[in-house]
Amino acid sequence: MVAFIQSARSRISRVPLPIIIVSIILLIIVAMAILAPWISPADPTRQNLLGRLKAPGFERAGMTYWLGTDDLGRDLLTRILYGAGVSLGVAVLSVFVSTLVGVSLGMLAGWFRGWAEIFIMRMVDIVMSIPAVLLAVLTVAVLGPGFLKLVLVLGLTRWPRYTRVAYAQTLQVANLPFIKASELAGAGAVRILFHHILPNIAGPILIVATSEFGLMILMEAGLSFLGLGIQPPAPSWGSIMSVGRQYVEHAWWIVAFPGICLFLLVFSVNVLGDWLRDQLDPRSRTR
């Protein structure tokens, strides 16, 4: 782990401009999510049926609706600010859940081999053979919707990708001489897995996590779009867009603004993830 951070630090002076830009965009979105309750001009769920579908810049009772209002007269800017927290929150937490589950199982399979390996890796094959969105829709149908359930559903449908990487890396590392040495020195499985193997496989897993992060944001938006994610009236970018879709012809702003935000977020995360991958890839490291 330490070696990995040091090698990353030595490169920080050579960060290209686009990476700096996307990092700033990400920081802004994170700030929006965290500061939403303080910087929002209105209450995200307060409706006003007489001020429905008003265009950006609409003014009423001393308040300007900078991004217009939605189909129930709620301030769109406020809903997008609050929605940022939902989108990021779901993505961060679900990536955490799937990393935790996936990496643990992958390391167990790679270390203990035998039945554990057969059982875990065949489970991985089974789960991966089911389309993730379908699996998520089915699970939500059984568990019911909600923020934490959504995190669990996304986390628990996406763990196999981490397992495969963790498993392959563990197999590789487990045969290295220093692991054999510590085993002979009497170290237990837990100690070896967490102190010696985990730090050495963290790089590739981080790469998987960044690529999954963008996907989680899109999956949340997709499920909320289908009405199976975040429950109204709580805003999420996906659900705001799903509402806006039916009004796109005469109230374009409802779908346009959260759409732009979603695009920027996913784009930034992906660009950053690609760059990190190049930085951490053992093959490019030798170059």
């Binding site: 409706q47 049926l49 149908a141 019911g144 429950q231 109204p232 009004y247 012809e249 005469h250």
Partner: protein, 498 residues
Amino acid sequence: MLKTFATTAALAASLLTSAAYAQAAKDTLTIDLPNDAATLDPHLQWDTDSYSVYRNIFDNLITRDTSGAIVPQIAKAWKYTSDTVIEFDIRDDVTFQDGSKLTADDVAYSINRIIDPKLKSAQLSQFDQIIKAEVISPTLVKVTTKSPYPALLAQLVKLSIVPKAYVEKVGAQEFNQKPMGSGPYKLVQWQKGVQTELQANDHYWRVKPAIQHVIFRAVPDVSTRIADLRTGKADLIRELPADQAISLKTETGIQILSVPTERVGYMYINAEAGATKDVRVRQAIAYAIDTPGLIEALLQGYGAPVNVLGAPPVFGYTDKVEGYKYDPDKAKELIKEAGAEGAKIEFLTSPAYDRALVEAIQQMLNDVGLDTQIVSLDQATFLKRRQGDAANAGSVALGRWSCACQDADGIIFPLFRTGSSWAKYSNPEFDKLVDGARSTLEKDKRLVDYQKAYEILRADVPGIGLYQAYSVYGASAHLKWQPTANEAMFVTDMSWQQ
């Protein structure tokens, strides 16, 4: 290729013969429906879209005219010989599309087929009061009901007459694929999930269809239906949301057709579980909802206020029972009295219901001190919970109810009679009234019973009527058509205009 040419030639020929229409006439009418027909066998599934397609292929025993009155179609006349026996005089000049003659045999067969539990018809509950149909003579059919059944004629309006010989020859499977009836249009092709193509039956006995070719397409997405109408890909689209109707109204070449229907938008309130078990909480909910506000803002006037759970085209509807006026203070008071401040209200919903309406009502309920949480489910799970055990059926849910029979027996009986899967409510007094009203033919007694039943519903509030739904269609300005209260879509009623 040759076939296409032949069809085109046939069409051209038929166009020439109907020179009167030649000016404005296009030979094909394209209709965008939200869904494909579930079945084309008219005795299996029923929903507005299935009806829209297959009722053009078949004739009904009796039908409704544009004013909603029940009038003859295949049956010329009918009379009750006792409270439970009714005799239908069958026309002797009707032929099926294959040229065979329609007789009393086919009529009796159609009735006996749909009430046969082995067919597993989704419409069984509408016809299960009938015990049997018998052929008395080639033009006379006798129908016997279990008890005097006042809604019988209203239900028979929906009974399509199928050809006995053909159905028996090809079997149920094939009949569903290639239905054949005596109606004004015959099936050309049914591409499941995509479209159904019909062609005029030139030998139709009642009228000469003004439109030669009809294509019903399944277009689930509203924006796509609107785009189709704009670009001329569709001449008529069904289920247009109010906001879109308003914005389309001003466009040239497009007309908005709308009509108040027998369908009622309502909210069910669970009287058997949760916070809403207390009648004061249910009354508070009724006081908390500003229905005129909802109709004006969200339905844009495509809906009318109702005071009970029913609509004016429905027999048994009454305006003598007072509705709940919007009174948030009264609602707060009742909730305080019941000690239900902050009580959790579970609002079940599915994509089939208007989300904006759900969210607006949620806020109204929260404004008077309840804690309403929306639970959106997929439609199958929604129905399972809504029709299942009361403890798991949520506190409230929206619904849009129509029995397509324009009779209170088809509304408050299934919704609130003890033992019905929809009912989360039980009141023996109410049961007695609706049971009585469904087993007598005396109209006046029925009206009195229903009024009393509505009084009970008002006091107990196991549900409230929110609005009478309008069906809203978008159509090409060249189409001439007047939609009706029962949401029927008979192409013979349509024609082209300048």
